[in-house]
């Protein structure tokens, strides 16, 4: 499938002249720009292209069909089916085969619903849009057609391997023209029906689809239906043996009956009993499988598989499922299609030849997004159809193939603004590389609002990607900081469990206080609770705020105690010492003695240690004096108690 490599044109002359360079964006886009390698050893100066033409950056992304609004439903609906499938597989109590068949049908009905929407919409638009919708219709029609055949050949259980009835169903479903016409004709004016130009084509068409009863019903409406030849044909058709696997007849018995019937009809043809009506003669020649007759009606078939099903019905009614492939090739040759097989034809042929790998390869190239190949491969993988190949084809690993599609499709969706959650659910089912891919991609989703951030965080936590969650919290904290929302930044810093960052923010609070004399975000500091313990600086901030509150509410003794314990702790930032000292002064000088002598010793001791602090220069004498005075008062008071 190497085939032709597509070259995409960047419509820019500068790019043509200089060459291109590329740079990926997270997540799935790429930018391309005009580039010329400069040799670092050259003299540095403007290049030959300076100022001559504006340079542009081209931002490229894949044009994904599925992201069109009208097709987007498909993505979510099929994701639902996909998840159901995974659920079914993991449930050992269920009958997998029948569940998988149900799910395959569900997928197909989702595609058909999509086709209906497209059919609806195409009536409402014009011009280019109409063409585009028509393209989509063609694509999805092919998808449904291929899926249906794959379902018959690979997922469904076919009793006795007699596949023809299902094949016929498949053809009838996809070529409904004849059924419609027949229904119209039979429900309308019935006299002289043959005057209708569609009459004989519908009769032949219905015959080719094995609708013998309809053929008989139509022929009965022919004005000459009472004539001998018509009645003879009717009898013959009535007597035609049709194989039914549940009838109890064995294949060989049936073949004998069939042979008898065919011989009988042939003899009647040879006896020229139908020559009066060329059409009826043709019909009879068809039902006995006469080559020339079949060549004549080839033009009634739009495709080789129409011809195939028809021809098999009348020549190999008990054909086994694995024999279909060779007959398919025969029909293709007959219709001279060998050299102009379209994509769809190739896929269908590969399916009939049971070449699952070829089917998958062909489907991969059907569209630029992996929707079809991913879901179908997933279905076939769980139906066990891929593991057989491992024995036949060297280096083939069903798991790896399956996973590679899921990985690509999941990654593609993760680059979409809205569908990233759907993408995650596919990556979840990649056993070896999924979690790592999520680890790489999930944190790249832009954190536009806190609401979205919460959702992304939840996804990270659900998968135990703790460091991803913490990183996201840190980034949110930095964003809040940039917006001047210190309280919010601290909240996020605490969630990220980043000690240094928390300390940094606590410092900011304290610095602001030293500048403005006001503590910001007091509502936050009111209820720090146990998360204070995240960093020493934060503990200090919390405790200092407590001190403040005690002081404001007049509880001087408690405030003093707290102050002393703070002084004795090791967590006071250097730049804050003088604040504490200064705030100690009124307490030292208060009427009521709030510092015990021990307390005062502590204060004096700290003062000695920190006397070199520049901010204290003017205040140090006052402090020493206040401390000394308090000491004497305290000592005096304590002496009394003894």
């Amino acid at each position: 499938m190497e085939g032709d490599l597509k070259t995409f044109i960047i419509p820019n002359d500068l790019c043509r002249r200089t060459g291109l360079a590329a740079s990926w964006t997270p997540i799935n886009q790429m930018s391309v720009f005009a580039y010329e390698k400069r040799n670092v050893r050259q003299k540095d100066g403007p290049s030959n292209f300076a100022s001559s033409q504006p340079s542009s950056v081209f931002l490229l992304r894949q044009h994904v069909l599925l992201f069109q609004p009208i097709l987007r439903k498909l993505v979510n609906e099929s994701n639902g089916a996909f998840l159901n499938l995974q659920g079914v597989i993991s449930d050992k109590t269920l009958d997998h085969k029948s569940e998988l068949l149900k799910l395959s049908r569900q997928y197909r009905s989702i595609v058909r619903a999509c086709l209906e929407d497209l059919q609806d919409d195409i009536t409402k638009v014009e011009g280019e849009d109409k063409e585009t919708l028509q393209d989509y219709i063609t694509i999805f029609y092919s998808i449904e057609c291929i899926w249906h055949l794959c379902e018959i050949l690979f997922v469904d259980t076919i009793p006795g391997n007699i596949v023809l009835p299902l094949l016929l169903d498949w053809v009838r479903f996809h070529f409904p023209k004849h059924e419609r016409n027949a229904a119209n004709m039979l429900s309308g004016d019935l006299i002289g029906l043959e005057a209708n130009p569609e009459f004989w084509p519908t009769v032949i068409g219905s015959l080719l689809q094995g609708r013998v009863k309809v053929v008989r019903a139509l022929l009965k409406q022919h004005s000459a239906s009472d004539s001998h030849v018509f009645r003879l044909v009717d009898q013959i058709l009535k007597a035609m043996p049709v194989y039914n696997v549940f009838s109890g007849t064995s294949v060989s018995e049936f073949n004998i009956q069939w042979r008898h019937w065919t011989v009988d009809v042939q003899s009647k043809i040879d006896a020229k009993m139908f020559v009066t009506s060329p059409n009826l003669n043709l019909i009879m020649r068809l039902v006995v499988g006469e080559e020339t007759a079949w060549t004549e009606i080839q033009s009634h078939c739009e495709t080789w598989y129409e011809l195939l099903a028809a021809w098999l019905f009348y020549t190999e009614p008990t054909v086994k499922i694995f024999e279909v492939g060779q007959f398919a090739k025969h029909c293709i040759t007959k219709m001279r299609m060998r050299n102009n097989m379209k994509h769809l034809d190739r896929v269908l042929l590969a399916a009939m030849e049971f070449d699952v790998l070829q089917v998958i390869k062909e489907i991969q190239h059907m569209s630029e997004n992996g929707w079809f190949v991913t879901h179908l491969t997933d279905l076939l993988y769980h139906a066990g159809k891929l593991s057989n190949l491992e024995k036949e084809v060297e280096t083939f690993s069903a798991e790896k193939l399956h996973e590679s599609f899921l990985l690509d499709y999941g990654s593609l969706l993760m680059g979409h603004k809205s569908l990233w959650q759907v993408g995650l659910s596919y990556l979840d089912f990649c056993p070896t590389e999924g979690l790592k891919a999520i680890e790489l991609i999930l944190p790249r989703i832009p954190l536009e609002t806190e609401a979205k951030t919460q959702k992304i965080l939840r996804e990270a936590k659900n998968r135990e990607l703790v460091h991803v969650a913490q990183s996201i919290c840190k980034v949110q904290g930095m964003k809040s900081l940039k917006r001047g929302r210190l309280g919010n930044a601290l909240t996020w810093a605490l969630k990220s469990q980043d000690g240094p960052f928390t300390s940094f923010l606590a410092d900011k609070f304290l610095h602001e206080y030293t500048k403005d004399g006001k503590l910001a975000s007091t509502d936050l500091l009111d209820n720090l609770g146990s998360c204070m313990l995240a960093s020493d600086r934060l503990i200090f901030l919390g405790k200092y705020y407590e001190f403040h509150k005690l002081y404001q509410s007049g509880e001087y003794k408690e405030a003093a105690n707290l102050l002393v314990s703070l002084l004795a702790s090791k967590i006071i930032p250097n730049y804050f010492w003088y604040v504490l000292f200064i705030e100690a002064i009124p307490l030292l000088e208060s009427e009521e003695i709030v510092f015990s002598s021990n307390d005062t010793y502590t204060i004096i001791h700290c003062l000695e240690e920190k006397e070199d602090l520049p901010e204290l220069k003017d205040k140090i004498e006052i402090l020493r004096l206040a401390a000394a005075r308090n000491l004497s008062r305290a000592l005096t008071y304590e002496a009394q108690l003894v």
Partner: protein, 368 residues
């Protein structure tokens, strides 16, 4: 299959590098016109220039973003022998000579090099805030900001002498905290007699030094670009090299007596792909986010993309080429063009993407 949006970059000369921030919401471009421009895309998807400043006194070769955990931070390196770290400041109006609504401030100038600084990359954030530069004089320098909240303070932690002139470097992005850090460095020395041009270095905790693990002797042509891929849980490291062709290497750590004793990793080097599709010198290599697609650009004027399929073999998947004859004056088609039968909003505010035309070509592209 591809659609594109054109952003007029307004540099007065060719752009040397385009780098996106962690989320793809901001873009930085640098050019031979010595300027760095920063772009933001608004809520409707349109990109506008929000800052433009003269970063150096010579061509600016590379620009790169730090992880958003460190704030809005850029690093640049230039022909003028310096590298610089920049931070976006909130609230100030732009200074004189600067355009735009945001304000970027130079936090530090790294002037240790005596020659052009050819590449600059931030280290993986798991190790704090580190920066590596390499220069034409063959020295790799590792800097660190000990206090990540203070970007003005950077210390030069290590200087590693590489025998040959260095053109590019790449940190291994996927190592855990337990594993020693790894750097790949490429040299564009033109003399094959000087040996291999790709060097793998590792930081040894034992010796507290960066030590060379490996010289990849199979690559003797000048190396222009080098890049480690993000790791999806593989047991080997994936390295792409831009040289006379595109090379993809597997570096597999092996355990043997020697490596356990020395404390240094032993690597088994295997070349898994070599592509001559450019049929000429390859200038740049760049990995996508999951390390599954490699984009390369070469002297044939094309950008080529290579993908690894499920059986781990690499194949080219697409080619991009510039061609002025296809220029249309108006974008032909917009991405959101499918109506649902009801009124659609006017599209002038939103970003307009147009489909790229394509041609199918046989695998060999003629030399031109």
């Amino acid at each position: 299959m591809f659609e594109a949006q054109e952003i007029n970059a307004e540099h007065k000369d060719l752009i040397h590098d385009v780098a996106y921030d962690y989320y793809g919401d901001r873009m930085a471009t640098c050019s031979s016109d010595q300027y760095v421009k920063v772009w933001d895309h608004n809520k409707d998807g349109k990109w506008t220039e929000t800052s433009s400043f003269k970063a150096h006194s010579g061509s600016v070769w590379k620009v790169t973003w730090a992880h958003p955990e460190f704030g809005q931070v850029l690093a640049t390196c230039s022909f003028d022998r310096t590298a610089a770290v920049w931070e976006e400041i909130v609230g100030d109006t732009p200074g004189p000579g600067e355009r735009g609504t945001r304000h970027w401030v130079r936090r530090t100038n790294l002037v240790d090099s005596r020659t052009s600084v050819t590449d600059i990359k931030f280290g993986p954030k798991i190790q704090g805030l580190q920066l590596a530069t390499c220069s034409a004089e063959g020295i790799i320098r590792i800097y660190e900001a000990p206090d990540v909240m203070n970007l003005s303070q950077w210390t030069l932690q290590h200087e590693v002498q590489c025998k040959l002139a260095c053109s590019c470097l790449s940190w291994n992005p996927s190592l855990s905290k337990m594993q020693p850090q790894m750097l790949a460095v490429g040299s564009d020395d033109a003399n094959p007699a000087n040996g291999g041009k790709v060097f793998i270095y590792e930081y040894s905790e034992n010796t507290r030094r960066w030590t060379k693990l490996e010289t990849i002797s199979s690559i003797t042509e000048p190396v222009n670009d080098i890049s480690f891929a993000p790791n999806l849980g593989r047991s080997f490291h994936l390295l792409a090299v831009a040289t006379k062709d595109v090379r993809i290497l597997h570096l597999t750590p092996v355990e043997d007596v020697q490596s356990i004793q020395s404390g240094l990793t032993k690597l088994e080097v295997e070349s898994v792909a070599q592509f001559e599709d450019h049929n000429s010198t390859v200038w740049r290599v760049c990995w996508n986010i999951t390390g599954t697609i490699l984009a390369t650009s070469g002297d044939d004027g094309c950008v080529r993309m290579f993908k690894m399929n499920y059986i781990k073999s690499w194949k080219p998947v697409a080619v991009l080429k510039g061609d002025g004859s296809h220029v249309t004056s108006e974008p032909q088609k917009t991405a959101q063009a499918i109506p649902s039968g009801l009124q659609m909003p006017p599209l002038s505010q939103t970003a307009r993407y147009f489909k790229l035309g394509s041609i199918s070509q046989p695998r060999d592209v003629p030399w031109h």
